[in-house]
Amino acid sequence: MTTNQWIQLIVCLGVLVALAIPLGLYIAKVFNGTSFWGEKWLGWLERFFYRLGGINPQEEMDWKTYALAMVLFSFIGGILLYLQMRLQAFLPLNPDHQLAVPRAVSFNTMVSFVTNTNFQFYSGETTLSYLSQMALTVQNFISPAVGIAILMALIRGFVRKESKHLGNFWVDVIRSLVYILLPLSVIFSGILIWQGCPQTFRGSQKVQLVSPLIYNQPVTVQGRNTTQPMTIIHQSIALGPVASQEAIKMLGTNGGGYFNTNSAHPFENPTPLTDLLELLAILIIPVALCFTFGSLVNDMRQGWTVFAAMFILLVPMIYCCIHFEQVGNPLLNRIVTGSTKQNPEGNMVGKEVRFGVTDSSLWASFTTASSNGSVNAMLDSFTPMGGLVPMWLMMLGEVSFGGIGSGLYGMIVFIILTVFIAGLMVGRTPEYLGKKIQAFEMKMTSIVILIPPLLVLMTTAISVICGGQGVLNPGAHGFSEILYAFTSMTNNNGSAFAGLSGTTLYNLMGGIAMWMGRFGIAIPVLAMAGSLVQKKNIPESTGTLPTHTPLFVFILVAIVIIVGALAFIPALALGPIVEQLKMIAMTMH
């Protein structure tokens, strides 16, 4: 790595943590049950939601009601979204006259946005009306708010003693929306507009090209395919309410782009400044929640432990990604500079000049470490090892910061596994934050940890058995495209090796994988919270394993890596690893 690359990495991570700590403490204030200064400003909006919804904010829910409300809310939101996409041709705000979205794609997209995945088997500017895009924005707000709510229920499971209640789902969702997501999005979209993201309801703009373009248009003459030169003198520039969607897309670990090429599109991410801010926006809330957690369990050291473990999982991966992209593709280096060794720009295939290799690699790591899934470079064209990094970060189960709420509750499940394993070693009943970890918690933990690898490997296997349709690249890379897609969907990430096209099979199976990957984990987590909340608090004794030491961080990181590696190394060996070996072999002759 060059000096500039180190500086970019260190400054970016430094600013991120410096902003996340105060935000985390602020979020703790939103949820600690007492009134705080924000209510003076936005309390009216909160009360407006309660009044219209007929919600009594004082009412408490047990885990079953809490889970029921969560599933119903996501389900209803999904149905409305599905109808919107199917009926968009008859609804207003469709200046470019988009037709109804096909059934399978609508289903996949609906699940995708409801589960905070935002995988996209469609191209935004050629498929969706402005109203459909705005309907997606709604789920961009709701799905992270639901994630925060689940996390809060789990935290209450640890904090409360001998109770049945985990809080009120509606209060948690509405407070996340009103005090966290909405204000941040308003500020952020303002900055984005200033930097050049469009925000308009007018249709595409037609401009006259400075230099007319001649291209060979494929035509069929008397049944024979041939080409015919055609002169293009206009460019039709797609626009829309981009900035408002972009802001919450980045802040809410959503990642579903307004345009086909996501944050690589100059209208979504026009300058290096917006790139930096969007990078920070990807991780800021997931990082902040570590400190919220520490504050709410009244022991900041626990928050720092979780943060440290997540940080250690992420940083070496960033280094790897930047390194391999900077070395570049030896086969292309040879053509361009005559030497297979690195060229100054690195691997520029599918990257934008304003971001270069560094910002693109940083983004690829951030977006898959969190469950954001936006991209500012085409991951499909990364070098094999550079592309392995984002795949690996997702395979860890989206716990190195992960999605909003989901990353932290996923990590807490790994912590429970860790204290259990450590407890077995010393022959003592494991406990965490004063709560005994018993058979029921371990059952739920096993479910949560086994579901993602099971889904990823099965869906990938089925796709390959069915002929591996829709892949763009031959050989091992084609397999990587499929493996990546189902890893991304199951773990609710949403990024893609975008060469893969969405067949009906992928759309349907992916939709199911996303739904299971979200609720197959959220419901056991809530059940666990429901069990924990009933337990007594046991005071710390000399036999208690302290969960805030560097030793504990080390064991935790090791267990996350071992679980991920055991499940996925064989699959990775068939994809990026064999491709890397092949690339080296091709370089030799």
Partner: protein, 201 residues
């Protein structure tokens, strides 16, 4: 449980509808209002006008392949390059034979168009971008073409190089992003330079 189901279902439906109004309509609506009032140029796509005619967006690249203009990067949009209503990368994998072939072909074309250039070819000039609409090329890629432009336009090399320098944007705060030259702005400035020179004659 049935009673709970009915209560929660009712709240879900009401809240889903209010959310659509608040986050789907009011929020983008207000941001559009703010954008149109405070930053109308950016909010409408940073459209550049020349003599009142719209000739492009400062943020969206255009295809330049004539010898008298600085060339943009290759673009993988369909059906023709730099189609700004269908952004797309090539998505070709690193050892895909198509990728190798494309790059080889572009190198040949580039060498033929710039016969006096013996140095290494800037990678960004022979690889397609992520969006297919990349408005920029690297300063090295602009310098690579300077001699050709000067020759075709009967300008001095130093004048062309000065122009490149003038339109090179550095890293933000000297740290973030990469140095770059906006091809459309550079070519418009180039036209202006040629015009003033012809006028003086």
């Amino acid at each position: 449980m049935m009673k709970q189901f009915r209560i929660q279902l009712k709240i879900s439906i009401i809240l889903a509808v209010i959310s659509i109004i608040v986050f789907g309509l009011i929020y983008p609506g207000i941001m559009t209002l703010v954008g149109q009032l405070i930053f109308p140029y950016q909010a409408n796509g940073s459209i550049i006008r020349l003599h009142g005619k719209k000739i492009g967006s400062a943020l969206i690249g255009q295809s330049f392949t004539q010898p008298d203009y600085f060339w943009s990067r290759p673009s993988a949009t369909t059906p023709f390059p730099y189609n700004a209503s269908n952004s797309s990368g090539s998505n070709l994998g690193p050892i895909n034979p198509d990728l190798i072939r494309h790059v080889q072909l572009r190198v040949e074309v580039l060498k033929k168009a710039n016969p006096n250039q013996k140095g290494p070819i800037p990678m960004d000039l022979v690889t397609s971008s992520a969006s297919g609409l990349d408005p920029d090329i690297s300063p090295a890629a602009a310098q690579y073409q300077a001699a050709r432009i000067a020759h075709v336009r009967h300008l001095s090399i130093s004048a062309v190089q000065q122009l490149i320098q003038k339109y090179t944007q550095g890293r933000w705060l000297g740290i973030f992003g990469e140095p770059r030259v906006n091809v459309l702005e550079l070519n418009l400035a180039l036209n202006q330079l040629s015009n003033t020179k012809n006028f003086k004659k």
